[in-house]
Structure formats: structure tokens, C-alpha cells
Amino acid sequence: MTQNLEKLPKGSFERITVSPEQAERISKPSVSFWQDAWYRLRKNKGAIVSLVLFALIVIMSFLGPAISPYEPNAQTITHANLPPKIPVIENLGVFDGVGTLGGKEVDLYELKKVEVNYWFGTDGLGRDMFSRVWKGTQVSLFIAFVAAAIDMIIGVIYGGISGYFGGRVDDIMQRIVEILTGIPNLVVVILFILIMDPGILAIIIALTITGWTGMSRVVRGQVLKYKSQEFVLAARTLGASDSRIIWKHLMPNVLGIIIINTMFTIPSAIFFEAFLSFIGLGLQAPDASLGTLINDGYKLIQYQPHILAIPAIVLSLIMIAFNLIGDGLRDALDPKMKD
């Protein structure tokens, strides 16, 4: 072995000298936390499909009522209870305006001498379901987003103060939260709806009155975890103020979990809104949300299933999309926390 080595010609190796600058050079562009998270999220097919689907639903909720030739609340009694009919697709045997009347399958558009097409059909008062469904989606999403945003703001502030200042403040604030979380959500929501005039505002207040406690607990836990770490101590030693530590050092670390939590608040708010509308505590006519549309449709389930089916499908798609996006974001932002 040694002999062989000695036999090697002198010139076969060349010494490389690495300059110190070369060794310190970063060969690939640095990836920020958010770029990394986006990279992980992009690989999650379910989440990306849901994101696109959700974007489409949001666009339609604004575009839908605009492109439909009918107003969401305009009633045309002669056009009541029409099944969906869409030109071109009607040739495939679906959405062709055929419905049951007295047990027989007939083209109700011909029967009622309706010249125009209703893409999603009409309801019992002859209102266009297409514009109503999208308008309702708009209202449902609005309620959910506002409720989630309020939950987030109150929860972050409350949890942040409680966790950051600790001690007696934390003690008192946590006792209050403990009692509030003891009250079942369902009970609170129903009681609050009862004392307020029904409407969008009442639902938002009812959803947020105890909804923020979950967020506040999560934020408190995170703040407690980070505030005792060295980088905060270092910042404090250098003379950083409380607000600088909170905004510059703690917030970026807690932000991921705040986003994840909000993503799960939104579907639960959508569900509660629809649930309240279904048991008759939701919006009042002529306002419509997906929940009230489902409630209206349910009354006609036997004869006009489309009035129930379409808003139910839209609602279910939103819920599925949101849960998948939430799962994907959780995995992307906090791979440790895969539940």
C-alpha cells in the first residue's frame, strides 16, 4: 500500500488553498422563514387545490351576483320552483330544466313557458338561485372573516399581555379565561343571539364573545415560551423597550401559530353562522346567507332538492377547502406541530 502511494507521480495532486472569504461565502440564496413555509405548502397538493378552489369561490361570490341578470331578492312568482338550466350543458342530460311534477319528469321551463334560463334554478318565490347563492356566500364569508379577525385581535392582545407581563396580571386574566371557556360555546352564542336584534352584527358579536379565548391561550403559551429565551434577554440587556421586544422579537415568532389558529377559526365561524340560521336564529329575510338558503331549501327537499343542494355544496366546499388549507399551513409553518 505505502509502496503504491510512493509510486504515484508527483504531479497528480494539486494543493487547493481556500481563501477565508470563500469559506464564508453562502452559495445558495438564503431562504427566509416565509419562503421556506411557502415552499413546503406548495408541495401539499390538497392545500394548493383548496387554495385555488377557495379563490374561485371568493371571486364568484363577488362576480356571481353581478353577472347574473337577476337581482338576488327580485321575485318573479310565475317563475317559481324552476330547476337549474344551463345552455349547452343541458344537452348532457343535467341542468336541463327537467323536474318532477305530479310524479312525472317534465321540462318545467316549457310547461311554465319560461323563455329565460336560470343557471341554478329558482326558489319558491321565483328568486334566482344563482345570484342568491353567491350573494349568500359573500355574506357567510364576510361574517366568518370579520369574526375571525376580531377573535384574532382580542385573543392576541389578551394572551400577549397575560403572557408577557405574567405574575398577578396573568393570574387574574387566566382565571377569567378559565371561567369563560367553561361555558359551552353553543350556549353563549344562543344566549347572545336572543338578546340582540337578529342580523349580521348580532351573529358576529355572538361568535366573538368567547371565541377569542382559544387564541389568547395559544398566544399566551407561545409568549411565555419565547420571553424567557436568550434572544429576548439579550435584547433587554441592550436596552430594548417592552414594545420593541413585543413587536420585533416576540411577534415574528408567534405569528405562525396565530395564522394557523385563525385558519381554523374561520371554518368554525362559517359553521356556526349556518347552524344558527338553520335553527332560526340567523339572518332575517330578505337577507340571505348560505345557512338561511339551506334552511329555506330544506323545507322543499322533497320536491325541489336543488334549492337545498346548491348552497349545501358551496358551504361544504368552503369548509373542506378551509380545513385542508389550515392543515397544509400548519404543516408548512410549524412542522413540529403536526397533530
Partner: protein
């Protein structure tokens, strides 16, 4: 442990007192008199009616009467729906069907969910796993009233396998509502068991069991499943909440004479004493379930230090 239970019991009582106080004053500030068609009565008649229900006493006295009655399980008197019937009796008479579909739904859902979650974990990252995850996502996403009306439309109205509604055919009447209620526990259990199983299957003692030559099924059932099952107790609380929330709409859809259906009906006709009584009943039920779950968990899994409660 005893200290922990004591602390939890005190919190429970504070919470309940808070809810009861809140509901009482709510009843007082709600618009309109709880005495039905009060406007048509002459002042004298009105006074007689109010005296009968104790509404003529000063507010603090009414409050203490109410709280005192509550402590003895008296939820007050239904004023406009049942003409003076006791709210406690009304709730009791309707408990049977609710308990039956709730229990069946819970049992069915948890059982199928555990099965689904186990299969998914044992066949991780195959089509079996993906489809069971999909079922779980759908189960969590689709609201119970949408699912219940779908079941009713297809299996009762179209196929006529089950009665459409009402509580007349014994067990057959309870099948569809139970399935509708089972979706939520099913999805929750499946998701939960899957992640727990995967975690347990990756732990050292499973590797050891494998190394000493235990068979696949033995590992799956004897070692992994048992340990994955314990934490499932923690989701029993949320599951009970889900079943209760679901029962309000599911009973409504299938016209089942249960507590949920009565509650929704009372909301529609503004029978406040029933609404408040049921609200308090629901609160007690849920708070007690969650308390039992937390205590059970502490007993079963000694690793959980109870001092701070669950995380």
C-alpha cells in the same frame, strides 16, 4: 389529585352560577312579558297571573328564589307552551330519544373512527391512508344538518329504506339520525387515532417488540393500539359538544321528540323558561362531561401531571 378535583369542582360551580345568573337577568331584560298575550289581559288579570308565577316579587327575591330552585334541580315553569308544566319534567320526558340517538351516534362514530384511523396508520401513505384521511376531512367539514338532510333525501325519501321522520318505528327511526350524529365523532376519532398510532409505531418499544420477533398483528393490537387509545379520552369532551350541537339540528330534521327539537321549537315561540332551562341543562351536561373526561385522563395516564390541568 383530590386538590385538583376540588379546584375543578369550584370552577364548575362558579361557571354554572355565572351562566344561571346571566340567563336569569337575560330573561328579565328580554322584550315582552313572558306571560302569553299579556296585552289583552286587564291589569287585575295580569296581576293574578304574575302572582301565580312569582313575577310580582321584587327582582332580588325572584333571583334568589330562582337560584335556590336551581340548586334543587328546579328549572322553573314553562309559561306559554305547556301551560304551567315544570321545565324539569318537560326535559325529562324528552330525554329518552335524545340520549338514544346521541349514544348510538357516539358509539358508532367512535368505533368506525378508531377502525379507520388504525387502518390508515398501519397502511401509511398508501391509497387506503389517503381515502380514510379524505373521509375524516369530509366528516369534519360537512355540517351535520347538510349530512342529515342528505341521508334523509337518499335513504328515506328516495330509497325508502328507513322512516322519513318521527319516532314511531323504534330502532328503525333512530338509524338515520344516529348515522348523521356519528359523522363528527367518526372524523375526530379517525384523525386522532391515526396520528397517535403513527407516533406510537415510531417509538422505541415498538422497535424492541419487532426485534424480539412479535408478529405484525400482535404489535398493532397489543402494543400500538392500546397506547394510542388512551389519549382518545381527551377528545371525548369535544365529541360530546359536537353530538349535542348536532342533535339540535338532527332532531329538527328527523322530527324526533327530543330535547334539541324542543329547544329549537321554544326559540321559535319565545318560550323563555324552556330556553333557559334547557340552556342550563346543556351547560351542566357539557361541563360535567368535560370534568369527568379530565379526571379520567389523570387516573388512566399517570404521566399527565394534573397540577396545571391539560395543556
Amino acid at each position: 389529585m383530590a386538590r385538583y378535583i376540588g379546584k375543578r369542582l369550584i370552577y364548575m360551580l362558579i361557571t354554572l352560577a355565572l351562566i344561571a345568573t346571566f340567563t336569569f337577568f337575560l330573561m328579565k331584560i328580554l322584550p315582552g312579558s313572558p306571560v302569553a298575550s299579556a296585552d289583552k289581559l286587564s291589569p287585575e288579570q295580569r296581576a293574578i297571573v304574575e302572582a301565580r308565577y312569582g313575577l310580582d316579587k321584587p327582582l332580588p327575591v325572584q333571583y334568589f328564589d330562582y337560584m335556590f330552585g336551581l340548586a334543587q334541580g328546579d328549572l322553573g315553569i314553562s309559561i306559554n307552551q305547556f301551560k304551567g308544566a315544570n321545565v324539569t319534567d318537560v326535559i325529562q320526558s324528552r330525554m329518552g330519544p335524545s340520549a338514544q340517538i346521541g349514544f348510538q351516534g357516539m358509539l358508532l362514530g367512535t368505533f368506525l373512527g378508531i377502525l379507520l384511523g388504525m387502518i390508515a396508520a398501519l397502511r401509511q401513505n398508501t391509497w387506503v391512508d389517503y381515502s380514510s384521511t379524505l373521509v375524516a376531512i369530509i366528516g369534519i367539514s360537512i355540517p351535520s344538518f347538510v349530512f342529515a338532510s342528505m341521508l334523509q333525501y337518499f335513504f328515506a325519501l328516495k330509497l325508502e329504506w328507513f322512516p322519513v321522520a318521527l319516532w314511531k318505528d323504534g330502532f328503525m327511526s333512530s338509524v338515520l339520525p344516529s348515522i348523521a350524529l356519528a359523522m363528527f365523532p367518526l372524523a375526530t376519532a379517525a384523525r386522532f387515532i391515526r396520528t397517535e398510532m403513527i407516533e406510537v409505531l415510531g417509538s422505541d418499544y415498538i422497535t424492541l417488540a419487532r426485534a424480539k420477533g412479535a408478529s405484525g398483528t400482535e404489535i398493532a393490537f397489543k402494543h400500538a393500539f392500546r397506547n394510542a387509545l388512551i389519549p382518545l379520552i381527551t377528545v371525548l369532551g369535544p365529541m360530546a359538544v359536537g353530538i349535542l350541537t348536532g342533535s339540535l339540528v338532527v332532531e329538527q330534521i328527523f322530527a324526533i321528540p327530543g330535547i334539541g327539537e324542543q329547544f329549537v321549537k321554544s326559540i321559535m315561540v319565545n318560550d323563555f323558561s324552556i330556553i333557559m332551562g334547557t340552556t342550563i341543562f346543556f351547560s351542566v351536561f357539557l361541563i360535567v362531561v368535560i370534568l369527568i373526561v379530565d379526571i379520567l385522563y389523570g387516573i388512566i395516564d399517570p404521566r399527565i401531571r394534573l397540577s396545571g390541568g391539560k395543556s
